[in-house]
């Protein structure tokens, strides 16, 4: 019975969709900026998994190449995002989204 259990690309697509949703929901409900930041990374990596799964399903190398572009972009985002968070940490001890409320009207 175990032998009939094939792992198809669809499994990975569903897993990626689940990861993406976890990231998106986490971003919306968590208040800590660093955790929100990790949620964005989770979303981007879920997309990477989707690309690879589709590339496998379509038998096309293009999708796997796209992952490298995503990785580079994610790295650049990490650098800038952490820099902004550090700049805010320097001004105040903690960084949760609820503390950032100078701009509301």
């Amino acid at each position: 019975m175990i032998a009939a259990f094939h792992v198809t690309p669809t499994f990975y697509l569903v897993l990626a969709a689940a990861l993406f949703s976890i990231g998106a929901i986490g971003l919306l409900v968590r208040r800590n900026v660093l955790v929100m930041f990790m949620c964005i990374e989770l979303m981007l990596n879920a997309v990477n998994l989707t690309f690879v799964a589709f590339a496998k399903a379509l038998n096309d190398i293009g999708g796997q190449v796209l992952v490298f572009f995503t990785l580079v972009v994610a790295a650049a985002e990490v650098a800038v995002g952490l820099a902004i968070i550090v700049a805010i940490f320097r001004r105040r001890r903690e960084a949760t989204a609820d503390d950032l409320r100078v701009l509301e009207g």
Binding site: A24, F37, I40, M43, L66, T70, I84, A87, I88, L103
Partner: protein, 495 residues
Amino acid sequence: MRPPISTPSVDWLAISPELALAAAGVVIVMLRALLRRRPLATPLCAVVAISGTVAAGAVEYRLWHVIRHHHAITTVAGMVRVDLFGVFLGVVVLAATILAILLSVAYLHREQLEAPEYLALVLLSAAGMLAMTTANDLIVVFLALEVLSIPLYVLAAFDRRRLSSQEAGIKYFVLGSFSSAIFLYGVALCYGATGTTSLTGIADFLSRNTLLDQGTLLAGIAMLLVGLGFKVAAVPFHMWTPDVYQGAPTPVTSFMSAATKAAGFAALLRVFGVAFPLYRSDWRPAVWALAVLSLVVGSVAAVIQTDVKRILAYSSIAHAGYVLIGFQAGTSRGREAALLYLFVYAFMTIGAFAVITVAARRGDDHHSLDDYRGLALERPVVGGLLIFFVLAQAGVPLTGGFIAKLEVFSAAAQANQYGLLIIGVLASVVAAFFYLRIAYTLLTPGAEAPKPVAALRRVDVWSAVVLLACAALVLVVGVVPGAFVHWAKDATFLL
């Protein structure tokens, strides 16, 4: 022995506007490293930035003529397609860039933020915007989106002494990356459904095949729309706009509002017009809803605001609604109206933010309506220009804003979108209320003697150039629109 790697042929002229801006940005970073804090560094970098932008503009001018007499250029293995559409919006982006740079020079000096990095970031962001106007592949659109956004996150947070600026930066960063991730997932789903990310490739595939399972592609299209909707600040993806526009340094706000919107709509019009014309009946209702929500929320929410920068932020959301009307029509007439609107809007919004930049006190933190009371009486020219720009945004005849709105409405009428047309007209009536409120505030003397905003400073020459250039263009488009309409029409022809 392996065969040599074959690289795609590159038409260097076609991509040289992006290269010029990126090169100028890199040169500035180098100069900064070499000159350190010598007094010469900042002016020298400003000269490099302006010459880079002018060089890019000269190439765009040349490209416009080459393409008009021959044909659109597709290069770098079909990743980039330089056509009149891209060149037109490229010119809008470059105009916004150069005006924002000129506006920033005095501002940076006043706020003691003098740092050549600022100029480098503006140039790199503009390079991303230019790449976006000519992108012919979803992955290039994504890369351009990131290249334009990442410098803007830093620019929004550039004023490190002001907490509101840092807050704007982090909010823009979190929501911007969120939208980029959604956009990227949309790219992945479209790739899964069609097996390619090239816009023309997707259109080819969809015209030759019938998809058994439409769900993946439709979800992908929806996510692309959400991701780009964030960038152009369409409701319900507009939450970041008021906070970021208010908190960011004012010249950055002007750059963001004019240039990002042009680049975002370039991607929207191209992706949906080139790749998914066969799915028009699916995406047009969604765009209809975005347009209506943007018009209503933008116009109504602006009425209850008391901060001038926030009012203009909501008005920019409403303006996105008008451009979406043109996009929703789905016709070449609609695209022409959208292009003309983006062109005029760039100068109206930069002009308004330019007045706010020169009229504000040091610190860039006092922008409530009360701070602006009586400005037009104390400084008739500066205050008068702000009144002119808000009236233009309201769509008063003889200004470019009127022509732009007229074009959009007639495109909607031609596409039989009378409901949208009526909502658009009603929204502009509501919007007229808060535009006139700004004008009224500027013209009534304050209750107390001290003048909060205007510490009667002379306007520096470069900001004056920006103000006059914006006012002149908005006026010229309003009085003799013929040539501009003609250019916008040319730009839609080859899409």
